[in-house]
């Protein structure tokens, strides 16, 4: 098949979005178009399909949709991705949270769990792990399975350890893993007070109240209007003066939400909820 058969038009993308919404109940209509197109084209290439094969599979093969969902959503993540973010979190937010009796944290769009365990390690380094609880959520059930296992390849751990050093948290990342052959497993005591579960940021609602919400490098896949809808969800999920962390390149641009979130660290996009009366 030549490459042109995989060159999707805007109309074809719209058709696929409609189809997925009607049959499977997932709404991709407010995803960033350029990246969604790239992801769908990638599925065509990996699975050796053309547009019509893809439509057929999405309609007739129920198991295929799970595969499609996994490929469409980006699940690439790292432990301590953007070390300077963790450094900022550790020096500006943690001292504030340390005065709390219970700290609930939500890692939204947690993928395979690297961010959740990074936060858990940070809490442990600050001796706050026992009074904190971390929820990791994602729309994708397969990645959550991996997240619960907490087993990562040794090759990745090497690069995560480099991140960890730069975050200035002290100690060594490998203190928190047991290594066997080419796999590194998160220590089981680190897995306590952590819950991974399915949550769809687009269609699901508030499920708890949190002192800290981390949603990093998820907004980049969404159009501005959808970002704002989810900012509203986060606002309503935060306790008074709770903190919101977005990705280092994800700034709150909306005037409405600039009035609801005060930047604590502009460079790393750490915000604090402003109470409205």
């Amino acid at each position: 098949m030549d490459a042109s058969a995989r060159n999707l038009t805007t109309e074809q993308i719209t058709e696929l979005i409609d189809l997925v919404r009607k049959i499977h109940g997932f709404d991709f209509s407010q995803y960033s178009q350029a990246s969604l197109k790239r992801r769908i084209t990638r599925v065509l290439m990996i699975k050796k399909l053309d547009f019509y094969d893809l439509k057929h599979a999405l309609i007739n093969d129920p198991a295929f949709f799970q595969v499609f969902l996994e490929e469409i959503t980006v699940n690439v993540t790292e432990m301590f991705r953007d070390p300077l973010f963790y450094k900022a979190l550790n020096t500006t937010v943690i001292p504030y949270l340390s005065t709390y009796q219970h700290i609930k944290i939500w890692s939204a769009g947690c993928s395979t769990g690297e961010e959740v365990y990074s936060l858990a390690i940070m809490m442990q380094q600050n001796e706050m792990k026992d009074r904190s609880f971390i929820y990791g959520t994602d729309i994708n059930t397969r990645v959550l399975k991996d997240a619960r296992k907490g087993i990562y390849s040794l090759r990745n751990i090497k690069s995560y350890a480099e991140n960890y050093q730069l975050s200035g948290l002290g100690g060594s990342l490998t203190d928190h893993f047991t290594t066997l052959y080419d796999a590194a497993t998160i220590h089981s005591e680190l897995k306590t007070n952590i819950l991974f579960s399915v949550h769809n940021l687009i269609s699901d609602t508030v499920f708890n109240e949190f002192e800290l919400v981390c949603c990093r490098n998820v907004f980049i896949y969404f159009e501005t209007a959808l970002q704002e809808k989810i900012l509203d969800l986060f606002y309503n999920s935060l306790s008074p003066h709770g903190f919101l962390c977005l990705g280092s390149k994800e700034t709150i641009r909306s005037e409405k939400f600039k009035k609801k979130f005060k930047p604590i660290n502009q460079k790393e996009n750490i915000y604090q909820k402003i109470e409205s009366w």
Binding site: S32, Q33, V76, L166
Partner: protein
């Protein structure tokens, strides 16, 4: 190959300048940024490979040398003519139809994030034949496929002469894939962009 009037006109009339570079491209990019005039009628997008935790130290360096404002790209940032945009490390840069940037953290392409291919292909999709794209020195083959797509869409594509490049692999790959309208050395590139 000598650049004639045609190339100058195509450069002047293009709506966007894309620069892709890797190892050995830094100096050429600096030289290009230095000569671009203030009030340039198009935005300049720079995709330069570098190590992931190598912070954004590049922006202040570019700001010092360029007469145009320089920004590191952030999500959904509007693309404005006369501005230099640098791809952040550890993200791919896409160009959305509504004239803003989109970012992506998916797997590296040719071991690179940002990948030149990703941005060039996205630009071909959005701006079709209205770009000028220049692929510079580098030690891998990123950029060639994207540049070919831009050429096929009718954009002006220029590859640094592999003989002139510190690392010839990247420009050579583009030449071998027939992605270049013109093969120019640094001096010729600078001369063209100064017009």
């Amino acid at each position: 190959m000598n650049p004639g009037n045609n190339i100058t006109e195509r450069w002047r009339n293009s709506n966007i300048l894309l620069l892709g570079g890797s190892a050995g491209a830094f100096k050429t990019i600096m030289a290009i940024l230095k000569i671009l005039p203030p009030g340039l009628n198009k935005p300049v997008i720079v995709i330069l490979h570098r190590k992931k935790n190598f912070a954004s130290d590049m922006v202040p360096i570019f700001r010092k040398i360029s007469r145009l404002p320089v920004n590191e790209i952030s999500d959904k940032q509007k693309i404005t003519p006369g501005t230099v945009y640098l791809a952040p490390s550890n993200y791919h840069v896409l160009i959305e139809k509504k004239g803003c940037f989109g970012l992506d953290v998916s797997d590296a392409v040719w071991f690179s994030k940002p990948s030149i291919d990703v941005t060039f292909e996205s630009a071909a999709d959005t701006f079709a034949g209205t770009c000028t794209a220049i692929l510079l020195s580098g030690a891998n083959v990123d950029g060639a496929a994207g540049l070919l797509k831009l050429k096929q869409a009718g954009s002006l594509t220029i590859v640094q002469d592999p003989e002139d490049a510190e690392m010839p692999e990247m420009p050579r790959a583009a030449v071998e894939q027939d992605a270049a309208d013109y093969i120019l050395n640094t001096e010729e590139i600078i001369k063209l962009l100064a017009e």
